[in-house]
Symmetry: C2
Subunit: 228 residues, 2 copies
């Protein structure tokens, strides 16, 4: 059982991350100031360094939390009983909805990397949650016969085994071609959301909701997900 000291330490740590998350949502990652976070929790700035060795470590904590929140939103939106094309669309909508609700957090996750280009390894499992959801949809669709049959051919140096395993599990009926197109659709999903959020669609896309649905439906077709 944790001692009193450990308990208050954990409590203060989460109090700091909460304040940091609030500031991130307000001013964005670039303007997030460790000193301002310290002020908000009633500490002097140097005291925060007892809990986070640097501002970048605090940001890393926020990144992991962000991936987890986004992954949870995607998982909650997936109804395994629904037809695969509808599941794909629902998850895409959930990802976009989360991004629109948390633009600065999304930018922290999928915009320019903030700390000197080194994405910490700890973020990987949390970041994979959305991909795992999409992969499960693919696998279920293959089991139900809602994916085009493949030739079973494999290009061993193109995509890693782990990624292929995530994108549809070990179901042998899914062609590598389909899995690679799923990878493309996955990044296209984020390309679409990023363009909308970062303003590259201003002046061209007028109805964001309907354009997004159409684009994601086209992507479902590209993967080969049958409408059923």
């Amino acid at each position: 059982m944790p001692t009193a000291r450990e308990r208050v330490r954990a409590e203060l740590t989460s109090e700091i991350t909460d304040a940091a998350r609030r500031q991130l949502a307000e001013v964005g990652a670039a303007a997030l100031s460790l000193r301002a976070v310290a002020r908000e929790v009633g500490m002097v700035s140097s005291a925060v360094y007892r809990y986070f060795p640097s501002r970048d470590d605090l940001l890393t904590r926020l990144i992991i939390d962000g991936y987890d929140a986004l992954g949870a939103a995607a998982e909650a939106a997936d109804d395994p009983a629904a037809p695969p094309r509808r599941r794909w669309l629902a998850v895409c909508r959930a990802v976009r909805g989360w991004a629109l609700a948390h633009p600065h957090e999304y930018a922290l996750l999928y915009g320019s990397p903030v700390p000197g280009y080194s994405a910490p390894r700890d973020t990987v499992p949390a970041a994979a949650r959305v991909a795992v959801v999409l992969g499960r949809i693919l696998g279920d669709a293959a089991r139900a016969g809602d994916l085009p049959a493949g030739t079973g051919e494999r290009d061993p140096a193109l995509v890693s085994d782990e990624a292929l395993a995530v994108l549809g599990g070990d179901h042998p009926a899914i062609d590598e071609d389909v899995r690679v197109r799923a990878l493309l659709a996955w990044s296209a999903l984020y390309g679409t959301i990023s363009f909308e959020l970062f303003g590259h669609f201003t002046g061209s896309v007028e109805d964001g909701d309907r354009y997004f649905d159409r684009a994601m439906t086209d992507l479902a077709g590209l993967i080969g997900l049958r409408a059923r």
Copy 2:
């Protein structure tokens, strides 16, 4: 004709932007410091404010220059005599090549927006150059009969007239459906490049060059560009 004072002013202005571009390439936009730029050109920091009213204005200048350089690369890679699918692939490769050669500049253009969310209006024409190239390929393909025939139906509130005009010109044979899918392919191109550059493909895509070619070919198929 310009006076001596105007000449030296223009010269110093470009000297500042050159130094800023060098620093951008080295440390990235987030760490770009106006004072360091001033040091590099042998000025005191306050003197730079005679030329750029703020650090963000200096960044805006770099953004416009970046869009222009990227647009020029795309235009140079387009051979109007080649078959449309090959043209599409060549332009995509040129965009990716420029991004890999100038990662920080690309991040400045297509990553998280740096100044408080307000993309200056001046950047729009420069930013559109790549889209114009892709649109010209679409228009030429339609003229040559390399695009599927459309029904001519139109959804007036979905995408702006200007964007539709860019994506294939006034050629009536291009369906709105095709133009919307071209918009999707355009953002998917940037989604793919961003994922590669920002590290979201580490652990999954192993051969970046070949994956990119395959993805862009799939996108050409999505648009409907015939191989010929």
